[in-house]
């Protein structure tokens, strides 16, 4: 009977830890801020923008495709992050485990996640943005057209 009781408790614990391990989406977190407040969450997405170093800690922003959430992490945790997303770069994909704050007392009421672990899932890269040849032609032809039109206008005005 005793072992059965412990087995049930173990199953429940595993079930609970699985819930936390399931990555939450930004919309899920933002729509249920009160439910997640102070709880451990796992959040996955692309590191974007600037990594802002503040003493021994840093702000990192992770966007899961909908919107970004600020991650407060010790500096050592973000040392692996090489690329953050912008026009020229695809940011590293990371999984963040940490505590979700609806209104963080430490950070002036900002909604954030205090990271306890950050794992790089896949590395980002420099994105080579090709120049659309059609745009080059269209740009040059339209410029010539405007210059010709302007010259024609001036010519008529002189007459």
């Amino acid at each position: 009977m005793k072992s059965l009781f412990f087995l049930v408790i173990l199953c429940l614990m595993l079930h609970t830890s699985n819930c936390y391990a399931q990555p939450s989406t930004s919309l899920d977190l933002l729509n249920n801020t009160k439910d997640y407040d102070g709880k451990s969450v796992t959040y996955k997405g692309e590191a974007i923008g600037d990594v802002m170093i503040r003493g021994d800690y840093a702000w990192l922003h992770v966007n899961d495709g909908t919107i970004a959430i600020g991650i407060w992490a010790p500096k050592r945790m973000i040392q692996d992050i090489r690329y953050t997303g912008s026009y020229h770069k695809k940011g590293d994909m990371v999984e963040v485990s940490g505590t979700f704050h609806r209104s963080c007392l430490e950070h002036g009421g900002d909604l954030d996640i205090h990271a306890s672990e950050i794992t790089k899932i896949s590395p980002g890269s420099i994105v080579v943005q090709p120049v659309d040849r059609r745009k080059i032609y269209l740009g040059i032809y339209s410029l010539i057209l405007v210059l010709l039109f302007y010259a024609l206008k001036k010519l008529f005005q002189l007459r």
Binding site: D50, Y87, L105, K135, G139, S142
Partner: protein
Amino acid sequence: MILKPQVKDIKNIGYYLGRIILGIGLTMFLPFITGLVLFREPDPALDFLISANIAIFIGLALSWLCKTNKELNTGQAMVVIALSWLAAMALSAIPLLLSGHYKSFLDACFETMSGFTTTGLTLVQDLDHLSQSHNLWRHLGPFLGGQGIAIIAISFLVKGTGGMFNLYLGEGRDEKLVPNVINTARFIWAISIVYLILGTIVLGLIGISIGLKPQSAFFHGACIFMAGFDTAGFSPQSINILYYHSLTYEIVIIFFMVIGSFNFNLHYQIWKGNFKEIWNNIETRTFLFVIMIVTLITMVGLRQLGVYSDGVILFRKGFFQIISGQTTTGYMTIYAQQFLKEWGDLALIGIILSMALGGCACSTAGGIKMLRAGIIYKAFRQDIKRMMLSPSTVVAQKFHHIKTMFIEDAQVRAILIVTLGYFFLYALGTLVGVWLGYPFLEALFESTSAAGNVGLSCGITDTSMPAILKVAYIVEMWAGRLELMSVFALFGFFAAFVKGK
């Protein structure tokens, strides 16, 4: 009898419209050059070259075909202004559409109308990966539109003065800072550019101190200043001002939002050393009074629901959103979802009230305006006095705005008509929102934000919202920015075509 517009009227309108379109086209060379040289983004830069050429071609063609030496009368000027804002929206949307970050041309038009009218509601997709050139253009829109599209034309592109003053009036401004309207327009540019340089430096330096890389810090500084001082509320990152996690940054932004929402005439007085005007002016007094009232309502609402457990945080979050609403900027340090899910009805009503009343007249701010609110209050007080005193008593009510003046009934009537127009606009968007199935308070919040040119969102503004609502908000932003009169004039012009003789 309504007179049908003649060819000479259309030519007059076409000529000045062409000059303004030409001005819009020329401004596109700024993101083209910076994109090519500074940001090294050749593909986005080409979007601006193409769009600039289209705009310049249309502008040149219109001003050539409709060449005239006649000055604009008031009605024509208002039609020119109403049309030029629509033209600016459509032409400026081309580079945004070419960026691939907008789902449709309507979404791109929504963005540019939101930018030019200094609203700040956005439909951009994946903003965090948008090129710097396109981001610069998004922020340049409020800077040009905030000062006034006609101001560009008046300052640099057209000659004559009588017609110019009518153009100036058409954008909802009726105060000349100096006797000459061209010099007034140039002063508005001068003051804005000086503030732009100072603002970019200050925000750039703070940006570096909070961990942004220098180039990024100054780029963010310039963008945030343009959208803050011009009360638009756009930001280069998807989470708006929350991105910076800095009290200092927030305080400086509050300062820029407030001075941006002040009357240019007040700025002129301060530049002349007349600091007393700040306190004596009816607008600044009304502004302070309204801020106190809406702060009280919002704080009580937030406190009642225990949204923020800490008093300092309550004030920081609450006050930033209030100032953002009151100055009609729309910057946010909370997520849109938090407005709905956490703030509660009372706090939302406080914010709606601040958005509806708006900033000062002859500024970059939207809403009913503090000058009107102040005069309505004084007129109301005057009427109460009239009722209480004997009928033979003459009750005069004064107010101070640059100089001390007496309130006149005709002036109050004109103010009340515009105020009613704003209420009509707020109601129109709310009605469309409710009709489409949105809850009343959310629909009212978003509609007031659009028509008051604010930009705060409780989450309705999204690419997935119905096209009819996007169109309704575009009309609200346009009519709200032009203070309705130019829009009425345009409708009147079309009506004259049909019914005129």
